[in-house]
């Protein structure tokens, strides 16, 4: 019974680390600033119609339409769990190819994969890599699945504070 509580605590801490990592990298590389492809523009306008923020809607649309730092974080933690540090490098190569197929420059995906590899290799004695996999799923659930209106308002506030958008 005690192990379950400890593992849930580890999962929540790993989820918080993943959330901070991918939101900061995606915002720095200009996802809320403009829609990269035509489909992201449509999703941003639909999110604005239900009362959300336009720039937060562009952020969510860009995540759907091309693999960005969120995909880099999830796949790099998967390959760290299965292969070790070398898996992070293979992930960076494959995510770059996928980004170029979706007509995206590909800065956010590769740099997100490399930073989560560094963080996992630093924290390996305390939190095992398989907790990062479940934590990333919880982190993406709070943005894409729970409540679109409040999530887009929060993302718009972060983008305004980091001087991207508006």
């Amino acid at each position: 019974m005690d192990e379950i509580v400890v593992s849930i605590l580890k999962m929540l801490v790993a989820g918080a680390i993943c959330w901070i990592n991918f939101v900061i990298i995606d915002t720095y590389f200009g996802l809320p600033e403009q829609p990269g492809v035509l489909g992201a523009k449509m999703i941003g306008e639909k999110v604005k119609d239900i009362g959300g923020n336009l720039h937060g809607g562009y952020f969510m649309g860009n995540i759907v339409c091309s693999p960005d730092a969120s995909a880099g974080t999830l796949l790099a933690s998967i390959m760290n769990y299965l292969m070790g540090v070398e898996g992070g490098l293979i992930t960076a190569l494959l995510v770059w190819i996928g980004n170029r197929l979706c007509a995206d420059p590909g800065y956010a995906g590769t740099i997100g994969a490399l930073t989560i590899t560094a963080i996992i290799s630093l924290l390996k004695p305390i939190i095992e890599p398989k907790y990062f996999v479940a934590g990333m799923v919880l982190a993406i659930f709070t943005i894409q699945g729970l409540d679109h209106k409040h999530a887009s308002l929060l993302l718009g506030k972060i983008a305004k504070k980091m001087n991207r958008g508006e």
Binding site: I4, S7, I8, M11, V37, L38, G39, A40, K41, M42, I43, K46, M60, G61, I63, V64, C65, S66, P67, S70, A71, L74, L75, I78, M79, Y81, L82, M83, G87, T91, L94, V95, I97, G98, L101, C102, K130, Y131, V133, A134, M136, V137, L138, I140, F141, Q144, G145, H148
Partner: protein, 81 residues
């Protein structure tokens, strides 16, 4: 059954029900993206070998390509009608 798999499975089940019951076409794509994250994590936790990791990466990137094409078509057809 591990506790991690149970948590990811609960999230995936909730996403499946919300895709089925949602009215708007654009917001179905957001839920579909979250479901794709969940299945990719479950594949890696089920097959514990490097080949399972390669399968998860290839599955996730091609799923993103598919939803990109659907979103592009929704924008185009709105312009036509």
């Amino acid at each position: 059954m591990d506790i991690l798999e149970i948590v990811i499975g609960a999230v995936a089940l909730l996403m499946t029900l919300r895709i089925f019951l949602e009215r708007s076409r654009a917001r179905k794509l957001l839920y579909l993206c979250c479901l794709s994250f969940c299945i990719s994590a479950l594949i890696a936790l089920y097959v514990k070998s490097p080949m399972g990791g390669i399968t998860a990466i290839v599955y996730f990137i091609t799923s993103t390509l598919s939803s990109n094409a659907i979103a592009y078509t929704i924008e185009q057809t709105k312009h036509i009608e």
